[in-house]
Symmetry: C2
Subunit: 224 residues, 2 copies
């Protein structure tokens, strides 16, 4: 498999899952601002994904998957069963995982983060409406996690990786959604930061993000 | 099963799938503006869904599913195999369906329609940024459907029901995203409007939507 990613973009969730599962995957770095694949000339990402986004996953059979919900489901299904990253097909827990994947994708990622960190230069009023939109989903997550260590079931699943990415970016300066009012979410975050896959993926992408030169600085300006 | 819906809201996709599959489902109508269940007092929807949204599906085992991606996957899995509404678990086509479900949920529904039809009174700049966001995903869909009758595989799946709902609302006056520049999408829409489940679900909800009195008129003002 090949995972096309950009440091600290939402593809971080897929990277965490690959590490958790020990999945063999070649990581291909993208400069999102110009769709360039690191080490190549030109706008190579368009070849694979008409939307020019990450994550883009090229599976072993050549299928190209995009969209976090689909990429994370696929990777979770490839993980060894003992990792418990993805519940069995047709089980109630699996639909719960999909529900929360979609919740993170729509209510935090698309409604808030995708607007605030957009490369399309949204008007400030649109960014503020986006930031305001974080309050309700964060309150729902705070209540849901009050008596739980993870979003679904008893152990870490692919959707926790996705939420941890969103919680990483929400308080960054450009977004500015503080997690201070959400002690449960902060404890959840601190707890899972102790997982080596989470810590390693985040630390590695922080370092890559700070490397000058290879990427267009405007892409995630102020994000990390 | 009980499907909580509001006329012409995104729960229309779930209604179409139930009709396509012949699934037994009790339909419970919601006034989205005040979360009231038709025929009851009070704000009953909060009991079931902390986000107060439709679709909310109460499954036969009592599990409560929200989020279209999850509700549509679940209903597709309950449909008889000959309906071919949802590809088999772990098949490549299934991940494709999830990919396009997420694409419609994020790029059209959450990025565009949820902002324009929001009950939170977004500033006009946020609405215009939302409308502008429709151009790129519609162009991608136009290209994808050029040589296809359906989004995935050879026959109608749950994701076509979701896209048909989005295409229904995009050109409505409050949103104002014309489909005129997209002849392929218009042909796709016209083709599937010939399906009795699609036509019946839309016609029924149009009639309900126009009924005065039972619902708060501001909820989807100008939508249909």
């Amino acid at each position: 498999m090949e995972l096309y990613y950009s440091p600290l973009a939402c593809s971080l969730a897929a990277r965490i899952v690959c590490l958790e599962a020990g999945l063999p995957v070649a990581l291909r770095r993208i400069d999102l601002a110009n769709k360039r694949i690191d080490g190549e000339e030109g706008e190579g990402l368009w070849r694979l994904n008409p939307f020019g986004k990450v994550p883009t996953l090229v599976c072993d059979d050549g299928q190209v998957l995009t969209e976090n919900v689909s990429v994370l489901l696929y990777l979770g299904d490839r993980a060894p069963a003992h990792s418990r990253l993805m519940p069995e097909p047709r089980s109630p827990a699996r639909y719960e995982v999909v529900k929360w994947l979609s919740f993170v994708a729509t209510e935090l990622h698309k409604r808030v983060l995708a607007v605030v960190f957009s490369l399309e230069n949204p008007p400030e009023a649109a960014k503020q409406f986006a930031r305001d939109g974080a309050i309700k989903p964060l309150a729902i997550l705070e209540a849901h996690l009050r008596d739980r260590r993870v979003l679904v079931g008893e152990s870490f699943t692919v959707v926790d990786a996705y939420l941890l990415w969103a919680l990483l970016l929400l308080p960054r300066p450009l977004c500015g959604v503080s997690l201070d009012p959400y002690p449960v979410l902060r404890a959840y975050q601190a707890n899972h930061m102790m997982r080596s896959a989470v810590r390693n993926a985040m630390a590695t992408e922080y370092e890559e993000y700070k490397q000058p030169g290879w990427w267009t600085a405007s892409a995630l300006k102020g994000a990390p």
